[in-house]
């Protein structure tokens, strides 16, 4: 049996009085890619942001239930939110590199977490992270140019490099390819597949083929509820729920 990295139990999420997530329970498995699909506005992003408590900063958010990361409740009292976010990294929908150099973008995380002894160790982390994000060859000559001078796809890979530089255990990706062209998208998909051996990945996507290509597990959200969850092959070829069938065949 697979080893769950994150266990979500009876999660309810409210924005003020408006309930966005209804009683969600699922296990996210170690070193697997889990895709979350569903029509827009169904709460995929909200769910993803619960996993590293990015929702905390939004005014009037209330969370019920528990999310266990390696058995520790991330909403528990002893959990340090800042450290949690170092363990559970995030890549956003729109590439958002800092308006700093490429090098500083990647080095920022290791710097604030003190992950290196000396300059050459930091250089090593930066190179390794860019390498893993498949960007090293393209940027090694221009590490000190602004990160914003890269193309959209390169910027998104830079954001991935920035996220993996702090050696997280889980990487959350919220529609990472929605702002990219097909070639850049293909590169990121390839990258996600490679990253799986080190990290646990949760990816939100509205692109069904993408979910089928990159993920091992898939969850279908509908109106704030988790309708169906299982191995990607099973869900795509043999959906049990009517709503899933409808969504997969585009009859919704």
């Amino acid at each position: 049996m697979l080893d769950p990295k994150i266990q979500v139990h009876h999660l309810n999420l409210f924005y003020k009085a408006h309930q966005v997530l209804h009683n969600i329970s699922l296990d996210i498995y170690r070193n697997q890619v889990t895709a979350l699909i569903g029509p827009s506005g169904c709460g995929k992003s909200s769910f993803l942001r619960c996993l590293n408590r990015m929702n905390d900063t939004i005014e009037g958010v209330r969370v019920e239930g528990s999310i266990l990361l390696d058995g520790d409740n991330i909403y528990g009292k002893s959990m340090d939110v800042v450290q949690l976010r170092a363990r559970v990294g995030m890549v956003f929908q729109k590439p958002n590199p800092f308006p700093k150099s490429i090098y500083d973008n990647v080095a920022y995380g290791p710097r604030i977490h003190g992950l290196f002894q000396n300059k050459s160790a930091l250089d090593g982390i930066v190179e390794q992270s860019l390498e893993r994000a498949g960007l090293w060859k393209e940027v090694k000559e221009r590490l000190h140019e602004p990160g914003t001078s890269l193309s959209g796809g390169q910027q998104q890979r830079l954001c991935i490099a920035r996220a993996i530089a702090v050696k997280p255990e889980v990487i959350l990706m919220d529609e990472p390819c929605s702002a990219l062209d097909p070639i850049a998208t293909a590169k990121i998909e390839e990258l996600i597949d490679e990253l799986r051996d080190r990290f646990t990945i949760v990816i939100v996507t509205h692109h069904l083929q993408q979910a089928a290509r990159v993920s091992q597990y898939v969850g279908f959200f509908y109106a704030g509820a988790l309708v169906e969850y299982g191995e990607t092959g099973d869900v795509f070829t043999n959906p049990r729920d009517k709503k899933t069938q409808g969504y997969l065949t585009g009859r919704m």
């Binding site: 990015m54 900063t57 800042v82 995030m90 956003f92 800092f98 308006p99 604030i112 602004p146």
Partner: protein, 434 residues
């Protein structure tokens, strides 16, 4: 007949849109009228601005000119006549005048000639005789260009050709003096120089000795204190309110009041300064400390509001990015948000400075209208600032202060223009960086 749906003649062809010519004409007329009105208002406002600026420049030109009259100093004769010429007050000037104007013997004429020269002439002469080295090297006479008295200066600046009685009266000169001046001018014994004194002197009763130096230094003191007080407090408040305070009823109430405060007329802050700093803390009246703190109070809401706008303009995606890799709130703010908002904060501050620089009403309220003939000696000693100086000069009846005040206004305008230009420059420079 085939089915209507398949018949080629029944294929839907939209009729081209026909606009009635009357509607078209009306629309075009409307456009033309608006464009005409727009151009007319632009021209009107430009003309108004240019008119104001032009008149200020025109009125201030005389203030930048100083009039000097030739004075021949019989050095060796003076040294022979009196071993210590500095002892007697008017001795030097009188002797020099009789050498320069040997043909006028009459004592009343002599008196009138003497009154053509400014009091400064005596001072300069005495200065000359203090410096023994120069005297030794020079021959037995020496030409000194001495500043003219204010009425003479005004007469020569404004109506150099005419010397009719009407003008004499207006300039408070006698007919003899006018004729003499005209003669001097023909001889080339009158010259115009750039009035450096305007930038070197402080306030004075005599316009040819009055300048903006003291007021400028006073303004710098006051602004410095205002900034030292309002910039850190304002920026820290803005950062806290914008980035850390939760959106509660209290914080919304504070926000509304800050916005209102930023629009409160400055006199109100003057009143506040009066009651707090003067009456309660008993700080000295007219000091740059009190003025600076009062302006600081006025600047504080402006600083807070403009800093908040700058902070708010930093995109949320940057905050998310930093938070997403585990930066704490304080790190997010000080590593990312504040550096990105910094140019905006700076721009806001500079515009605030420009506003404080031109502020007079609130400073008058805290008594910054003393007559001060030096630059301020410290933050507790009396000081005056540029706008108040202008206000005082405008009120003085003596001839010469009117043009001085125009010149000071021009100078102030130049500084304000430079500040605003600098703010724009910073904004553009940093916006382009990434």
């Amino acid at each position: 007949m085939t089915k209507p749906g398949l018949s080629p003649t029944s294929v839907f062809r939209p009729k081209p849109l026909e606009i009635s010519p009357r509607l078209l004409k009306r629309r075009k007329l409307g456009n033309a009228i608006f464009l005409l009105c727009g151009k007319a208002s632009v021209i009107f406002s430009c003309a108004l601005l240019l008119g104001i600026l032009g008149s200020i420049v025109y009125w201030s030109i005389p203030a930048f000119l100083s009039v000097e009259l030739k004075l021949v100093v019989p050095v060796s004769k003076l040294l022979k006549l009196s071993p210590n010429p500095l002892k007697e007050r008017t001795f030097l000037l009188k002797e020099s005048l009789s050498t320069t104007y040997p043909t006028y013997e009459d004592p009343s004429q002599k008196r009138e000639i003497q009154s053509l020269y400014s009091l400064l002439a005596q001072k300069e002469l005495r200065g000359l005789f203090k410096d023994k080295e120069i005297l030794k090297e020079s021959s037995d006479t020496l030409v000194l260009w001495a500043p003219a008295q204010k009425d003479v200066a005004a007469f020569l600046k404004h109506c150099q050709k005419t010397s009719d009685v009407k003008n004499n009266k207006a300039f408070r000169l006698t007919e003899f003096q006018c004729q003499l001046l005209e003669k001097l001018q023909k001889e080339g014994s009158v010259r115009f120089r750039f009035n450096w004194g305007f930038f070197k002197f402080s306030d004075s009763q005599t316009p040819e000795l009055a300048g903006i130096y003291g007021a400028l230094i006073g303004s710098l003191y006051v602004l410095g204190i205002a900034l030292l007080f309002s910039l850190p407090v304002g920026v820290i408040t803005a950062i806290y309110l914008e980035e850390f305070a939760t959106d509660s009823r209290l914080s919304r109430w504070i926000e509304i009041n800050l916005n209102n405060l930023a629009a409160v007329p400055s006199v109100v802050f003057g009143l506040l300064g009066l009651s707090v700093f003067l009456n309660f803390f008993k700080l000295p009246r007219s000091s740059s400390l009190v003025g600076g703190l009062t302006l600081g109070l006025m600047l504080l809401p402006i600083m807070i509001v403009s800093s908040r706008i700058a902070l708010r303009s930093v995109p949320a995606s940057i905050r998310d990015a930093a938070r997403g890799i585990g930066a704490s709130s304080v790190q997010v703010v000080f590593h990312h948000v504040v550096p990105l908002a910094f140019p905006g904060i700076l721009t806001g501050s500079i515009i605030g400075i420009a506003r404080a620089m031109g502020e007079s009403a609130s400073l008058l309220m805290v008594g910054m209208m003393a007559f001060i003939t030096t630059k301020p000696q410290g933050i507790l000693s009396p000081a005056t600032v540029l706008p108040v100086e202008i206000y005082q000069w405008v009120e003085r009846p003596e001839r010469g202060f009117d043009e001085l005040s125009s010149a000071a206004i021009l100078f102030l305008l130049c500084i304000l223009g430079a500040l605003n230009w600098f703010a724009l420059f910073l904004k553009h420079k940093f916006e382009k960086r990434w």
